[in-house]
Symmetry: C2
Subunit: 301 residues, 2 copies
């Protein structure tokens, strides 16, 4: 009997509950508090069997979520765990994946090294910013792409014959996965600046968005600026509607208002981060994807 541990970071508990149900595993919920001086406290109340999956998404405050994950590994070892998998549905710091300037850290490598040395022999995340980043993990590491799964779950809620657009060429794989699952066309957006007027337009590279229902697919909405700009220009140029599908709805600051003002009709996000109390965002539970991966990995072992 395996155990799934629900870590204390916002968004972890629901994900862990769903994962435990998928796996038929026991769920243990971590006790936690913050001391008056700001230090975090965690406790795993039950003795553990050898194989343990800790669910701790790296939601804001990201640094505290990371520290709690380190503390949980120590606590789990103290309770008898021998093999530790960290499931961090949202992997913070994954966008600092190289030294853009000399003297910068490869932040994601530093964080991954800390997790491995804490005793996590396996790391599972959802849609890390760049898949190559997984090579920084000194153990087994997996990033699960959620778009096909989300397409299946959302099929009935989406407009009948949409086009699926990536915000740029780098994100095209994401749009393709979503579009193939839906059986519709996909493309990526290109920015044009008019040489005379200086006016900026954003258009699909090949397809025509005029009169079409558009689904923009990306890995993350952080402050929402890029997607809001794309949505409002697409609508100004005749798109009928814009829906957004992302893995991670971080929605920092006033991102929700920005997207609403831009005319975005709906945001569908995986449940890798705690839900924002806004009618704009709907969540798709992707914990079963992690359950499937663990079943496959164990079947192979």
């Amino acid at each position: 009997m395996r155990t799934v541990i629900a870590g204390p970071s916002p968004g972890s508990r629901r994900f862990a509950e769903s994962l435990a149900a998928t796996m038929g595993a026991r769920l243990v919920v971590v006790e936690h508090k913050v001391f008056p001086d700001g230090e975090r406290y965690v406790r795993i109340p039950d003795p553990l069997e050898s194989e343990v999956v800790i669910v701790q998404t790296l939601s804001p405050p990201q640094d505290s979520s990371i520290i709690e994950a380190l503390l949980l590994a120590d606590a789990a070892e103290g309770q008898g765990a021998e093999s530790l998998t960290l499931t961090a549905p949202y992997m913070a710091y994954s966008r600092q994946d190289r030294r853009f300037l000399p003297g910068e850290p490869v932040s994601i490598a530093a964080i991954m090294k800390a997790f491995a040395s804490a005793g996590y022999t396996r790391l599972i995340t959802i849609e890390i910013h760049k898949e190559e980043t997984l090579r920084y993990y000194p153990g087994e590491a997996f990033s699960l792409s959620p778009y096909r799964y989300m397409a299946e779950r959302l099929r009935d809620k989406l407009p009948p014959n949409p086009i699926v657009l990536a915000p740029d060429l780098g994100a095209l794989r994401r749009a393709r996965e979503m579009a193939e699952a839906l059986g519709v066309e996909y493309d990526y957006l290109v920015k044009h600046r008019d040489r005379v007027t200086g006016e900026i337009t954003i258009e699909p590279k090949e397809l025509d968005a005029a009169g079409r229902d558009v689904i923009i697919v990306d890995d993350i909405i952080s402050t929402g600026g890029t997607i809001a700009r794309a949505a409002s220009l697409l609508l100004a140029n005749g798109a009928r509607s814009v829906i957004v599908v992302v893995a991670h709805a971080l929605l920092a600051g006033n991102a929700v208002e920005k997207l609403e003002r831009a005319g975005v009709q709906k945001v569908y996000a995986a449940n890798t981060l705690p839900p924002k109390g806004s009618g704009l965002v709907e969540y798709v539970d992707v914990a079963p994807l992690v359950g499937d991966l663990l079943a496959r990995v164990n079947a192979e072992a």
Copy 2:
């Protein structure tokens, strides 16, 4: 030529400046910011020689200070550092130094493991809560006791013939170091509860505090509750004045007000944490202690 790097956590820069001056080392100040989503960014702007001392005290927000220390190690390696010393004048999480209940982490061990795996081969702190804790560090680790040094620096500001008191038997070593440097008497405080009235008194075990100027010495003031209680009971029982000397003035929440209300005349603290803008607290720069240690360690090598 060695390099001292001033990390971004509150309180690190002044400590690093003083340490660099003591060592005759070059000072490099880290560039840093917080992204809109809450992630931290650091950058070490200059190429480094082989030997580097990073000063990053683990001041609140502690978890972010820890993460920044991990990122700095990666950045320093990228800039050519080969030997990395972490000077963390205040070591957060050092009070969770064992499993008080089953299922708790040994938090300080988890944090120390992360620092070692990040590449810090040496750790220097000021007055860690329990010195035995250093054994958790998988490299060279030092905790410097500041009380003798502080006594020398404060001699002229203290009342002429005080008694030095530890808040409990466990802290007696701290009072003894201070008292021996000042050439005065020391003792520790004991709590009595009157069996009939239930009244609590706090008195020195052997000495009489009545009519005396008292110096309470401890490692840390966190919320200030324990020391405020001791001070007000000592004053109620006839002590002439109460001064407090600590390594770490964390002063969480309304600690300053609590101590002022209790009648504490002054708090002298080492500069391991950022200064509180309050007339109650005065700081003693203990960075030269770290410089002396590094000179000794290098002389031996």
